[in-house]
């Protein structure tokens, strides 16, 4: 099974190609190919995960994250640049593959119903498969070049899918924004890659770890520089401050795509990058501090934004940014396993939240939570699964998020940085608040829009099935990975002083949860206040929370640095270049061509062309007299000429 791990990424690629070229002749535009390939990926990666856990000696080599299994073949060689395509299977990549394929499979099943009858159905599935392929390519890769290829493909696919409904300007703009913003981060990634290659001469991850980093050949300063440059890429892809601006706008894509992007494919890539190259980051404490603070800032600001968002998908998007910040915070605090743990559990419950939101939107045809309400009666399945996911994300004891979030809090507490811990705890409180708020407003209370409420209905089983599966995962995965198959057995991490903080962490985590959820309950459960009235009463606070400082900063920056100079240059262009240079050249050449036209008419045409014609005509008129048509005349000329010639010959030779 593990020997053929390469099949897992290759099959979705195959599916994508098949759907593109043959889809139009196939049932459902070939969507079933993508689903089957993803299902195969789920089965195979589950097999690998089970095999790994039972430890049948599958992992022969040991290194960066415990034992791993590596296989590769050379791709091409140019000079001393050697590139390879390969697989690196260890606990982390195997689990990640399972998450990616599982979420992709469920999202594709869900989309069968959600996207039914929408335009470009086949293209949608082809892109989903390509997206899955790209993510798996980077997850499985054993070298940074392949990682980079997958990384960029993920970016392209996200562009295609976010802007999938490109007839709407907002969707097209959101696609562009996502692509350009992540590309800015990728620039850092690329430079980091070049720096890495120029300093060690290889891009193979285990070799870099074994021979260069752990031996100290690569100096800590260089490690730190490379890690921070690579982290720029992670900032872009995983939507960290200051490049987090694209993710809330990515809501313009179809909802299942959001589920995929937020859970498994796009944003997970950045966190996975940091986890994968953790040995590089861990060399320098400064580097980790940067990661931690970026994460903390992201977690906090996005959670604040989420408090006042009224678009259900937007709330979820802010919460994703916030949770990603959480993961980064954990990674930066040495909670390497905790971050990855949260990535896994978050993938399940966030995918579920988005699918649930999609189901709701499908039913009531609006994104505005203030037009929903009381939907629990109409949509029991969505209500229950969304509820499970909400409990998971706010960290209700026993649910998935509880375990991973607690590990994160423990790792943050372990660094003894009080500020970071306070931010984390406060974010946990905010998360509990805004997620409960959405849940209460959407599903409980009285319907606020009777007309929409009357038309709402539960989604069909194609949408219900993935949600139920994900709900089971959202409930159980945390418990499972903590007690049944403890993650620590596959992914070695720093243990140590975590346990002594347990009571503190536990009380903070449960306290934040109780406080946040309780506050949301007291505000939104009984009588939902009018948001407009609230916004007026708490005007400064409301406006502060609604502001998206980074977006405003970029808008101002682009206005100042790009648009304003561009306007000046445009004026310069119009007034100087156009008027003087372009028009001037035009006038001068017009004059010159008038002159040349005269010369052409008079000198060339009249004298040369007609002159020669006239001359030939005259000559012809003269010469025709010689041709008398009389044979004797010709003979006379011949005789005369011949005798002249003979006379000359006799004179000369005789």
């Amino acid at each position: 099974m593990i020997e053929h791990a390469w099949l897992i990424p290759v099959l979705p690629l195959l599916a994508s190609v098949l759907i593109v070229f043959l889809g139009r002749w196939l049932l459902l535009d070939g969507a079933w190919i993508g689903i089957l390939c993803a299902l195969w990926g789920v089965v195979q990666s589950a097999g690998i995960v089970i095999g790994l856990f039972n430890g049948h000696g599958l992992l022969l080599e040991s290194g960066l994250t415990g034992h791993f299994h590596e296989m590769s073949f050379p791709w091409f060689q140019a000079g001393f640049l050697r590139l390879e395509l390969g697989c690196l299977i260890d606990g982390m990549s195997a689990l990640m593959m399972l998450v990616v394929t599982a979420v992709s499979f469920l999202v594709q099943v869900y989309s069968l119903s959600y996207q039914r009858g929408k335009p470009r159905f086949g293209r949608y599935y082809a892109t989903l498969s390509l997206f899955t392929f790209a993510m798996l390519l980077l997850v499985i890769s054993n070298n940074m070049f392949q990682f980079f290829v997958g990384w960029e493909l993920v970016g392209v696919c996200s562009y295609l899918l976010i802007g999938f409904e490109f007839e709407r300007d907002a969707a097209a703009a959101a696609g562009r924004k996502a692509f350009i913003t992540t590309k800015i981060g990728d620039l850092g990634f690329y430079v980091g890659l070049l720096l890495l290659f120029s300093s060690v001469g290889t891009l193979n991850i285990p070799i870099i770890q074994r021979e260069f980093v752990s031996t100290g050949i690569l100096s800590p300063e260089l490690c730190c520089a490379i890690a921070l440059l690579l982290f720029c890429g992670a900032i872009g892809k995983s939507a960290q401050v200051p490049l987090h601006v694209w993710l809330p706008d990515a809501m313009e894509g179809p909802t299942p795509v959001s589920a995929l992007i937020h859970a498994a494919t796009m944003v997970a890539a950045g966190v996975y990058l940091v986890a994968r190259l953790y040995f590089l980051f861990a060399v320098s404490p400064f580097c980790l501090t940067v990661v931690a603070w970026v994460g903390a800032l992201t977690a906090l600001t996005a959670a604040l934004n989420a408090l006042v968002a009224s678009d259900i998908k937007r709330v979820l998007a802010f919460s994703t940014v916030s949770q990603l910040g959480y993961m980064m915070l954990s990674l930066g605090c040495g909670g390497y396993r905790a971050g990855f743990f949260h990535l896994t559990t978050h993938a399940f419950f966030k995918a579920l939240l988005f699918l649930g939101a999609g189901s709701v939107i499908h039913a009531v045809h609006t994104n505005d939570i203030w037009k929903m309400g009381g939907l629990s009666k109409k949509m029991p399945v969505t209500f229950l699964t969304f509820g499970a996911a909400t409990l998971a994300i706010i960290g209700f004891p026993g649910f998935a998020g509880f375990f991973s979030k607690e590990e994160i809090l423990a790792s943050v507490a372990g660094t003894h940085q009080t500020a970071l811990f306070l931010v984390a705890a406060f974010t946990a409180f905010l998360t509990a608040f805004y997620m409960s708020r959405v849940f209460f407003v959407v599903f409980l209370g009285d319907p606020r829009d009777p007309h929409r409420f009357a038309e709402a209905h539960e989604s069909d089983w194609l949408m219900g099935f993935p949600m139920v599966v994900l709900a089971v995962m959202a409930v159980l995965s945390g418990f499972f990975l903590t007690y049944v198959w403890p993650l620590s057995r596959w992914i070695p991490g720093v243990e140590g002083h975590l346990h002594q903080m347990e009571s503190l962490v536990l009380s903070v985590s449960v306290g934040a949860l109780a406080l946040g959820a309780g506050l949301a309950y007291s505000i939104y459960r009984r009588s939902v206040p009018d948001p407009a009235v609230l916004a007026v009463r708490w005007r400064p606070l409301d406006q502060f929370l609604r502001r998206r400082f980074a977006d405003e900063l970029y808008a101002a920056l682009i206005e100042k640095c790009v648009f304003a100079p561009a306007r000046h240059l445009a004026r310069f262009d119009e007034e100087w270049i156009d008027r003087f240079v372009v028009d001037g050249v035009g006038t001068v050449s017009r004059r010159i061509s008038v002159l040349k036209a005269w010369a052409d008419d008079v000198l060339v045409d009249r004298f040369c062309v007609n002159g020669w014609g006239w001359l030939a005509d005259r000559c012809g008129r003269g010469l025709r007299r010689l041709q008398t048509g009389l044979v004797q005349f010709y003979l006379l000329v011949i005789a005369f000429g011949l005798s002249l010639f003979l006379l000359w010959a006799v004179r000369v030779y005789g």
Binding site: R625, L626, Q627, T628, G629, L630, V631, Q632, L636, A639
Partner: protein, 102 residues
């Protein structure tokens, strides 16, 4: 004593009379006859020069025989042309035949 020069002068006279005839006669038939004179002027030259310069070699005489044969052929073609001219123009007056006048 008849020398080579006598023959050459005879030949030149014959040639001159023939050329005069060719250039001045108006009748196409007479032009043909004048051409025969030109041939024979050349023939006289051939035999005389052969006799005086290379006695014992038959080359000049052979050339004369050849010329006579060619002259016979020429006469045939010439008479055919004259016939064709007459049929076309109903006359043999050579100055009236100037279709190629420019």
């Amino acid at each position: 004593m008849v020398t080579l020069y006598h023959y050459l002068v005879l030949s030149a006279l014959l040639f001159g009379i023939g050329l005069y005839g060719v250039l001045t006669r108006r009748n196409a038939l007479l032009i043909l006859i004048s051409i025969e004179l030109l041939f024979n002027a050349a023939n006289v030259n051939f035999v005389a020069l052969n006799r005086y310069l290379y006695p014992g070699q038959p080359l000049g005489q052979a050339a004369v025989l050849f010329v006579i044969a060619v002259a016979a052929a020429e006469a045939v073609v010439g008479l055919a042309l004259v016939l064709a001219l007459y049929r076309t123009f109903r006359t043999l007056q050579i100055e009236k035949i100037d279709l190629l006048k420019g």
